[in-house]
């Protein structure tokens, strides 16, 4: 989970640099990245008890 956080931090720093060069607002990109980060962390934390396969099978039922 810490590795994931570090990866997202590096990605965010690199993309901020890209957006600054393009003179774009960082806010919407930051929100989307933050949401994706939380989603990743939650999925990774519950990976032993919850799998996407279970979700698809539940939807099928």
């Amino acid at each position: 989970m810490i590795v994931l956080a570090v990866v997202f931090l590096i990605m965010m720093a690199a993309e901020m640099n890209f957006l600054k060069k393009k003179k774009q607002s960082i806010k919407p990109y930051f929100i989307i990245t933050a949401v994706l980060f939380i989603l990743c962390e939650v999925m990774f934390y519950f990976r032993d008890t919850f799998q996407i396969a279970m979700l698809v099978q539940m939807m099928q039922k």
Binding site: P28, Y29, I32, C40, F46, V56
Partner: protein, 367 residues
């Protein structure tokens, strides 16, 4: 803006579909279809082409606009955005399935004892970079891979010829079973139906009105290659053995002895498969980034490519706990979810056609 030529479009979709079927799902096709696999390929291709045709008819009505933007004018935004969410989820799940199979394959045969998360991460880095370079680079890569891949794919049956048991050829006629072919056909339709993603890239395509012709050519190419491969597998291994192997194609390739220079032929072909799958997955990542950036009205899609790829990477790790769970998923609801997501343009097409009919009728009455 118009950066994709018709030739690139044809080559890309050919690589997209036949790499998926041959490199990943040929075992499933053998399992479901048996001797009827070639018929199933034809059925799947026809059904997939029908879905793609409807998506194309919808997209070509507004060739310079993005589906994400005009979709809310057809259905209201309250329906449009949830449907887009289903498309995004479907793409992420498709990427996860392909990556799961890929890491399973690599950790079983080539990267033994390597942690699966590391294999998935390494693949994701390649995919993310290709996607970040843009749609043009994805299609150019596919253009480069196409001839190599087709050459490699057609070379296998030629080199394997001496191992084929030709007496089994009568099984194609005597073991005819339409219900078996239908099962495999529906499964293959979900893969051929991925060509509906065309709807998202129509504004980038030159001479977009000719796109269906290119799709037809790529479908013919795919059908020929997949039928040749499925028949080769059946004639070499037999349907029973082919359906019980996880990667029957690899076993067939390993029968090829190309002399002392290269002990077996598989590393070269595996490299081609990987390249083709990477191109396919980067396109799926691009589509997700494209949809998200248009929904949130972002000027650039590039900054969200890496986070989306990270999500795909984590969802691959969380896809299934074991092989049995994965097989249950693939034999259960997965195909239905994919087919539903691919049929979404059909809803838009029907509603748009009804709206156009009543608008034209109203205008006619006013005149």
């Amino acid at each position: 803006m118009k950066v994709i030529t018709q030739s690139q479009l044809m080559k890309y979709f050919a690589v997209h579909v036949f790499a998926t079927i041959i490199a990943i799902f040929i075992g499933f096709v053998m399992n479901k279809g048996g001797f009827n696999a070639p018929l199933a390929v034809l059925l799947g291709a026809v059904l997939g082409l029908m879905i793609t045709f409807i998506a194309f008819r919808l997209a070509i009505r507004r060739p310079d606009e993005h589906f994400v933007d005009y979709g809310k004018a057809i259905l209201s935004k309250w329906v449009h955005y949830p449907l887009l969410l289903i498309i995004v989820i479907n793409n992420i799940v498709v990427i996860s399935i392909n990556l799961w199979e890929l890491q399973d394959f690599l950790t079983q045969f080539y990267l033994i004892r390597t942690p699966s998360w590391l294999v998935v991460s390494a693949c994701c880095v390649c995919i993310a970079y290709t996607a970040r370079f843009g749609i043009k680079s994805v299609f150019r890569t596919a253009e480069g891979v196409f001839f190599l891949a087709v050459f490699g794919m057609l070379l296998i049956p030629l080199l394997i010829g001496q191992n084929m048991q030709w007496f089994m050829i009568r099984g194609f006629v005597t073991q005819f079973d339409f219900s078996q072919a239908w099962d495999a056909g529906v499964f293959l339709c979900s893969i051929f139906g991925e060509m509906t993603l065309l709807i998202f890239i129509i504004p980038y395509v030159q001479h977009a009105q000719k796109s269906m012709k290119s799709i037809l050519f790529s479908t013919i190419t795919i059908v020929v290659i997949v039928i040749v491969h499925a028949s080769t597998l059946i004639l070499t291994l037999g349907p029973e053995m082919a359906k019980n192997l996880n990667f029957p194609e690899l076993e067939v390739i390993r029968l090829i002895k190309s002399g002392s220079f290269l002990e077996t032929f598989d590393p070269a072909l595996i490299a081609l498969w990987l390249l083709s799958i990477f191109v396919k997955l980067s396109f799926n990542i691009f589509i997700v980034a494209h949809v998200v950036s248009h929904v949130f009205k972002l000027k650039h899609y590039k900054p969200i490519v890496f986070p989306i790829t990270a999500l795909a990477c984590v969802s691959t790790i969380c896809l299934a706990y074991s092989h049995s769970q994965y097989n249950t998923l693939m034999n259960g609801g997965m195909v239905n979810l994919i087919l539903f997501a691919e049929s979404i343009p059909l809803i838009y097409f029907v509603v748009d056609s009804i709206k156009r009919y009543f608008t034209n009728k109203g205008m006619g009455e006013q005149l």
